[in-house]
């Protein structure tokens, strides 16, 4: 299947994006910021349609929107109180803006908005050109390099912010930088996986890895490996089954990996007892 150029492009971009998503996703899950990740990936949609409505390159809109919202969440948000409500309201409104831009774009382009919307929401990894794939790889490499450079202090600041702050680690600045990296990852991956599906590649490999091992470094590596595996398997599956969209196949494999990890790491007797608990009055001892 590597005879086709579009497949080679998809594998190159897909691998780079999966590595970045797996690494960033590990910290997203560890820092309990999955909802922020969700918001940033959905906001990418608004960025892309706004750029299309204004007639500029959608990639500029993607990165501008996600990084701006990442900064806003980082500056305004407070990790303890009411954070998810604020994120929720802001991003519901930004999605509403996305609808407005989509209507604006379609009235200008004469009703041809179905394709733009579908590509932004669900990705089109087999539609990437060689130049797109190379650019995606370079951006992913930059994200990975920055993340690995700050991995140790970020881990410290995540696990115990108070002690890290006392030891002179710039906890707030690291949190902000991490959100910007998350935003850049979201913008980057939207072209391939789609704004609606990307969350799976952030949450599933990382969640699976953290269920399988408690060692943070092993979990980071495992998360990246699982993300790459899901992407490869998904791309192969959708190549073999033409009706299956590639982004859905990737997310389905990632979710399957997560379910296996969940079952493998759950003691089933305990789970059965807990599941029975709510039915039988449910006071847990």
């Amino acid at each position: 299947m590597f005879e086709h150029e579009f497949v080679r492009n998809a594998w190159l971009a897909g691998t780079a994006i999966a590595l970045a998503s797996g690494l960033v996703g590990h910290f997203v899950v560890l820092r309990a910021q999955v909802f922020a990740g969700d918001a940033l990936t959905h906001v990418a949609f608004t960025g892309a349609v706004a750029a299309a409505a204004a007639g500029i390159d959608t990639r500029i809109g993607l990165f501008a929107a996600t990084i701006a919202v990442a900064l806003a969440i980082g500056v305004l948000g407070d990790r303890r109180a009411g954070d998810d409500t604020t994120i929720g309201i802001v991003f519901a409104w930004i999605l509403g803006l996305g609808v407005y831009f989509l209507a604006l774009f379609s009235s200008r382009a004469g009703g041809g908005n179905g394709l733009l919307g579908a590509r932004t929401l669900f990705g089109s990894i087999f539609g990437l050109s060689a130049a797109d794939a190379r650019l995606a790889t370079v951006i992913a490499a930059a994200i990975i390099a920055i993340l690995l450079a700050i991995a140790r202090p970020l881990l410290f600041a995540t696990v115990d912010p108070a002690v890290a702050g006392a030891r002179g680690v710039p906890v707030r600045a690291l949190g902000l930088l991490f959100l910007v990296l998350l935003g850049a990852t979201a913008a980057e991956a939207t072209q391939a996986i789609g704004a609606l599906l990307l969350l799976g590649l952030l949450a599933a490999p990382a969640g699976a890895a953290q269920r399988l091992t408690a060692n943070p470094y092993r979990a980071i590596g495992l998360s990246a490996a699982l993300a790459v595996f899901s992407t490869w398997a998904g791309l192969t599956l959708s190549y073999l089954i033409p009706k299956l969209p590639p982004s859905s196949a990737i997310i389905a494999v990632a979710a399957g990996v997560y379910v296996l990890a969940f079952l493998a790491s759950t003691d089933l007797h305990g789970l059965g007892r807990r599941l029975a608990a709510p039915l039988s009055g449910g006071t847990e001892t």
Partner: protein
């Protein structure tokens, strides 16, 4: 006013003629009735959702209406059946799964994230299999209030009444369990069972709401009225009532604006909701700040 003779003459300063224009067509009456039922339910359910900090679960459940609708289309069932089946099933998975996790909050939300992405991926597969509706997927995601039938209004009203009856029955223990889980459990309140029941009602409510606002924008009606009400007052009954009133007002304003102007209804509903929230938040901050300024001498005195 001569404009009242012309149904689409635009918004005027006379509320009576505006109202007459708004209700001139049956489709608009259906939309307003359905919107009111949905807004009342979303106001109550959303109030508990914000209190329990389960916005992410609420958002995920609302997105599950998308695979529900496309899946139902694919096998030829009415879309409403798909909405309720998928939202209910996801609520069960999230509720049961996260009661098996509980190691820390990040893992719980990872599970929710996986459910969300997998559901949307399924929806996209259904959509690709059912070729030919690609033009219609936007109405699914972003709402379409023009095609609401009498039957849908009736279904929505029944669902709203059922959900409100449920809250009337378990409202007190649910409130207790939401505010202080540990004490509630010690007093013998079935905390886990209530959490699961609440997620199920949340799934039911978003499945109903998604039919009006679209899958992506349900969230605005769930979270914004409740969060605004909780900014304005911390008294339980008052903020619950306020949340319902705000929800209905936002829905009516959004529908009316979409009727008189050409932009999509989802855009107006989210924008009105967001504006009201920002006003409430800023007002609250100003009041808190001025109270602090006024009391600063007293506080300094007390510390001295």
């Amino acid at each position: 006013m001569s404009s009242s003779a012309l149904p689409l003459a635009g918004l005027s300063l006379d509320p009576v003629s505006d109202f007459q224009q708004l209700t001139a067509f049956p489709f608009m009456v259906n939309a307003l009735e359905a919107g009111t039922a949905v807004a009342i339910m979303a106001g109550v359910v959303g109030w508990f959702m914000v209190l329990r900090r389960e916005s992410f679960a609420g958002h995920t459940l609302s997105l599950m209406a998308f695979p529900g609708a496309t899946g139902a289309l694919l096998i030829g069932l009415p879309a409403a059946a798909g909405y309720f089946v998928f939202c209910g099933a996801s609520a069960l998975v999230i509720g049961l799964g996260s009661s098996g996790v509980r190691r820390h909050r990040g893992e719980e939300s990872a599970l929710t994230g996986v459910v969300q992405a997998l559901g949307l991926a399924c929806g996209f597969v259904f959509l690709s299999l059912y070729q030919g509706v690609l033009a219609g997927y936007e109405n699914l995601l972003f709402g379409d209030f023009l095609g609401i039938t009498r039957g849908q209004v009736l279904t929505l009203a029944i669902v709203a009444v059922l959900a409100l009856c449920g809250f009337a029955l378990v409202g007190r223990p649910l409130l207790f369990a939401s505010v202080d889980e540990t004490v509630a459990r010690a007093r013998g309140v079935p905390v886990r069972g209530l959490a699961l029941a609440f997620l199920l009602v949340l799934g039911l409510a978003v499945a109903a709401t998604a039919q009006i606002t679209g899958v992506l924008l349900v969230f605005a009606l769930l979270v914004a009225p409740a969060a605004t009400a909780q900014q304005i007052t911390c008294r339980i009954g008052a903020s619950l009532v306020l949340s319902v009133i705000l929800g209905v007002a936002i829905t009516w304003a959004g529908l009316a604006l979409a009727y008189f102007y050409s932009e999509p209804v989802g855009f107006y509903i989210t924008t009105v909701a967001f504006t009201i929230y920002v006003i409430a938040r800023v007002t609250r901050a100003v009041i808190d700040h001025s109270t602090l300024l006024r009391r600063r001498p007293e506080i300094a005195e007390a510390h001295a």
